[in-house]
Subunit: 439 residues, 4 copies
């Protein structure tokens, strides 16, 4: 991603997947490998010390690495050569001992992912907290529930926010599981047998994983890309959930709806009245590429033999962008939610727009007790048709219909949306409880 | 999917996602809802009995449902009407009480998914067992490890199979987790508040989940499609892993490689010599659409308000095909693996093709002890260049080079691929152990 | 696609890509090949006659073909065997002479595509005509132009419809170009050399193309899948354009906007007031899978050597569904547009919602002549802020500001949206002209 | 894309879509707009001159633009402010007169695309020339035609290259058509009516297009994204075709096949014998993301009303990367093809591997004249089975079978692959002719 990536993605996310971050992660992998091999008696301890010392990204030039790496189509190959030069002397022969470029790139990918996931999770936490506060505050704020973008029956804004909350918790859980269970070192040597390490292969693998606090795989995973594909999938799911929230905000912020607005709504210089839901828009713009990149990662599962010719190499950029854009989406939704201005009065006013029709389900059920479902539906349907013509509300039209059998029916309270919220508030409580439990 | 789907997908998978299976699953959802509501005192027990009795797919005509369902763009709406007609009398009013079409379609999707997942998992188990047997049998069978489709260093066919095995176990685990944790009933009523059930909403929800042995969600998930997207992702990952195995088989079965062949290799009528790896090919053909469908499911996370206008409706067909095609891929790989004929002699012969070059890594490491890494690499490089010209093997060329410093070096055993397998056999054991533990 | 496909896709589209349609298309290809070969003197004329006679789909059982075709993973292989049996005698040896299964499947794909494209184009024409009528009728009907879903400046509904119209014409042109230029016979024999036809290969190829009125390719295109990928791309573009129209309709039909409604709006049994924009919804549901399938077709460009092991076989189902779903989207938009009820009064009323703010751009430009752009924008911005507080409209607030310099400014006409339509009507005329020219 | 993008994509392609290139393209759009408006009498000529003078990217800081652009989620909005500041004085009010940010970004996208397409086309031309030379040189070089990766019948390397050539010509044509017909200016003002330009809108539009030598659209295309989606599709098709060539090279370069090798094959430091087909690998790595990005562009067809909230903003980065990566793929294939070393002897040797079986189709046809197709196939099938057991070749086994009816059959010439090439050479000539005609 370029500098213009900042239009959508905050700088820390771009930094976490930058070339510099990758170089440092590759150096961290080399350093950890050296330490592990020293501990296992494969290379001298002093060599490891020298390698660790030179493992600082600022000593290397990403641009030169990129140019030299073209011949191998990976950045680790030139980095190893450069690191050997930096280390110098006999110790140079201990650099990258028994490893292959893919070991370093794959392990670095895990480190880059871990660092990025921490940032993404922090934003999800922010978003969750903000959304939970909205759910709590608006637990009982009536608004129109809309299906197929038509007003259906009342709900509460709290329940809408509770739905957002649960989805964020689910996305978070999915990413945490990847972080905790699926990030693992890769070490296989030239073709996955750790041939050059002789009998000490498994021991080095174990120590390497311990050094980096990453999982130790059962077998090298150089051509089993499940971990990467699952990470891509979890990111796409997270981004998708976030964009649903953004879409709801955008729809609620429409001029004709005006039930919410983003505090920091972007203004337009020639149209100073506009209050654009820019954060939500940014979330949507961010989520789109994540899907595309997750596709690339999923397609990359198909790898030839012991190292793929193309599919593997395509993963790095796709993974970087998927991580950064998911972060951008999370940050945008956190921002939108934290500053969301909710207009409860307008929600109420919009519920009046249908002149009672938004409560027709309730009326049908109420009349059905006496008249049976079909007749009740017919009578309400007729009343709605008349209401649309006359401009009178549903209650008036029903009252005027002798067949409606309204004896003993309290039409006024039947047509009060605030008393037809079903289990909305209970569901809000359940969501908040889950949020609190989830830590 | 049509009848021609059977070209790639065995009939049981097609059956499990057929229109008939969906109708039955929707009826199962209606029956369970009726029972739950009777238990909760919402509808009469006799009504529930009548509904359960009529809940048999053969009483309904999928084609008529499809035609009538166009007006609502979902199959549950006409099914509810038809079911009411079948049930008749007062009990008809108890059908689908307080539910919305989406509740039924979504819950049915979970039932269809559970049934399909069982079939997929059974095929994965078959594949895992077959692949484990290959790993065990060929634990120490040397073959060329190939990176970028070039022979790199020796490995064993057992280790290749062990890699396949671990990936199958991972895919299985991913699908099992979805099945066990993420399949849940959906019940929200018109807009997610269970408005028509008054105070008994949560109780009905709990009983509904119990009836179907599905999870009870914290809040209705009508517009939180994480569950579906995660299922799509897990299917895509599974299909992708299977296709990696299929690709390896296809590559190993090439005329020029001939290290394996499928027992049931498809023959050609005009070219009777061909032994096409048809099962592996079918696995690949199956995996492709899964990715496309998973994309549709991931994009469907973006849903408007309390019911999406299009994104929700697009999920059903995509989910059905993703399930069936993943099943097709799993069945194909199980078939390929169970009947795989492995030619260990040809593997050995192919290792000879490079005249020792496939062991150049080993030789470099061996010479490096005395000469240092750079000089060792240079000497071996020169010898390889001469070998390519002369037709003599690497050993002869090295022996002819006085600078190679071969004193005390046992070239013959150095150039024996069977003794340069690194940790291959240990990794095989680790994979088999994990397989046994995983049950 | 199954029977339930009819929920979204009209039956003729499903029929055009059904197994039966494919069988007939394959038989048409065999018949044309036989005729071409008879004309070229490769097979006896009587044999060709026999083959043509038996080339009727009803003589063959799709289900049996599917089952027998598993071993070859394609439907042509068993069909050829069955056709030979039907033809019988010596003529049987002339069936499929010198061809390979892929020749038949690929040529059939072109025939299926041509038939389906005719249906799609007919629906696009219907849609274009309906949309053109809307553009004409509402050439000057003012409505809010909305950017980022916020009212921005006035436009006309005619211009919105004109934009839809141009996009339909573009989609149509893209599909027509494919139909006219890119549908070609495939004939290459076992590996693309037409080896079995000796010197008569090119002649047979030419006659084969003439028989089917398809293009003759420069070389066999068995592994050059550009034609298919381009068709997939053109379908995805068409579906995408249609869904933009559907989305606009859905947004305009929202309860709070109510500027249009679909005549055949789907009703809900428990919520009789709802007027769901079901046709537009169906268009969106149809467009989603087209993108997924186009992806499969694009990924299938990567084919191994002279016939791909998996990628080729995956094309057929993806192509069928892409064709049918695009047809479904086109039919849905034609239906939505033909019956679209436009509420010009409501459009006008919605333009009043912002109390003049929707004309702030115009006011800024008007004041800028005297005050300069920055000062004008500041004054209007302040007035808008006051208006939001006071409930007075923009005109009143400006009139109350002595710095606004309104001398000689006719505020009333400045704030009349009907006179701030820019080139909207001219653009409508241009679009209609292009429509008429396009035939 | 980052610096590491150079691992796969040559610097000029990265440069052509860099932030700097976008800034310059936006400035070019502003300058052209100013000139057009001056010519139309909308703004003073001196203002236009001042704007043109300041339209140099080096005057602006991409990083600052990105940061300031976050509030509007697009880069044109801050650029316009910065340009106004640079221009200063009264002329500042003439900057961007009557335009909206999207007009500038969309027009800039067309300029960036045109410049990038020129680079892509140049590489395609290089690749076409190199591939044409291969086709010509190896017009009659026999090699195995391989279907499903099994040797099927002989073909020539020239025909394989001819197939590559035709696909490149098709891809080129697709991109040229986009460049020539579909790149158009966008100018609509705030919501597509050119409201602020009064009656001079169409005139300014016409002059704007003339200034930039881009097409003039019938109506503003701000929410009709066909052009972008079609460009994405054409890029994906081009990249896909290129990757088919790369895949063939990689497969032919396998150690066990060794029929070609890349001159600049990447070496491995620890495995000096490897000759990795790195250019082809790079082409594959490049093609993968293009598909993902084209998907994003296709999904972006669904835009809300007069400016989309997210879909539009997501296009820029996707388009940039699709252009650059397609360029990377084209450059890689040009490199691979120009330096391809073809081993005709090895091709011939590989044809011998099957001991005559690769000619079994020919033998079946030859015997069928006397014996009928079925009996001929059975006899050849038996002979092949015996050959596989005995190690004798097909000819010997047939000669030993008295039922084979070989009287008058010249087995030796029947089993010579060089005489069973069908129309391969004619097809090569046709492809070369088309190449020459295409200029």
């Amino acid at each position: 991603m370029t500098t213009f990536g900042q239009l959508f993605v905050p700088a820390p996310f771009l930094e976490a997947v930058s070339d510099g971050a990758w170089v440092q992660a590759m150096l961290d992998a080399e350093a950890a490998l050296a330490r592990a091999e020293a501990d296992a008696g494969v290379i001298p301890a002093e060599a490891a010390t020298a390698i660790v010392e030179k493992g600082r990204a600022e000593l290397f030039d990403a641009s030169a690495l990129a140019e030299e790496g073209r011949a191998a189509a990976n950045p680790a190959e030139p980095l190893v050569r450069a690191l050997r030069k930096e280390v110098g002397g006999e110790a140079a022969d201990s650099v990258h001992y028994g490893a292959t470029s893919q070991d370093i790139v794959d392990t670095a990918a895990m480190l880059v992912s871990r660092r990025s996931l921490e940032l993404v999770l922090a934003e999800l936490n922010r978003a969750a907290a903000a959304v939970a506060a909205l759910a709590e505050t608006h637990r009982s704020t009536p608004m129109a529930g809309r299906t197929l973008l038509q007003q259906a029956v009342p709900t509460t804004f709290g329940l809408k926010a509770a739905g957002w909350l649960v989805s964020i918790l689910e996305a978070r859980e999915g990413l945490e599981r990847i972080r905790d269970e699926r990030l693992a070192v890769q070490l296989g040597g030239a073709a996955g047998t750790l041939s050059a390490l002789g009998e000490r292969g498994p021991e080095v693998l174990r120590l390497f994983a311990r050094e980096l606090v990453l999982a130790e795989p059962v077998v090298p995973w150089h051509t089993d890309r499940t971990r990467i594909a699952q990470l891509g999938g979890a990111l796409a799911t997270a981004a998708g959930l976030l964009v649903k929230i953004g879409l709801d905000v955008i729809l609620l912020a429409q001029t004709e709806v005006s039930e919410v607005r983003e505090a920091a709504g972007g203004a337009s210089s020639t149209m100073p009245h506009k209050q654009n839901p820019v954060a939500s828009l940014r979330a949507r713009a961010c989520a789109r590429p994540v899907d595309g990149h997750a596709s690339v990662l999923s397609a990359a599962l198909e790898q030839e033999h012991e190292r793929a010719a193309g599919a593997w190499q395509a993963e790095g950029p796709a993974l970087s962008e998927a991580l950064a854009y998911t972060g951008g989406a999370a940050a945008a939704i956190a921002e939108a939610a934290e500053g969301l201005e909710v207009d409860a009065e307008r929600m109420r006013a919009n519920l009046e727009l249908t002149q009672g029709a938004v409560l027709s389900e309730r009326v049908v059920f109420a009349l059905a007790d006496q008249l049976g479902r079909d007749k009740a539906a017919a009578i309400v349907g007729d009343a709605l048709a008349r209401s649309a013509q006359s401009g009178r509300d549903l209650g008036e039209e029903l009252a005027a219909d002798p067949e409606a059998g309204l004896d003993g029916v309290d039409l006024a309270s039947l047509l009060d949306p605030a008393t037809y919220l079903g289990s909305a508030e209970i569901f809000v409580d359940r969501a908040l409880e889950r949020f609190r439990e989830s830590g």
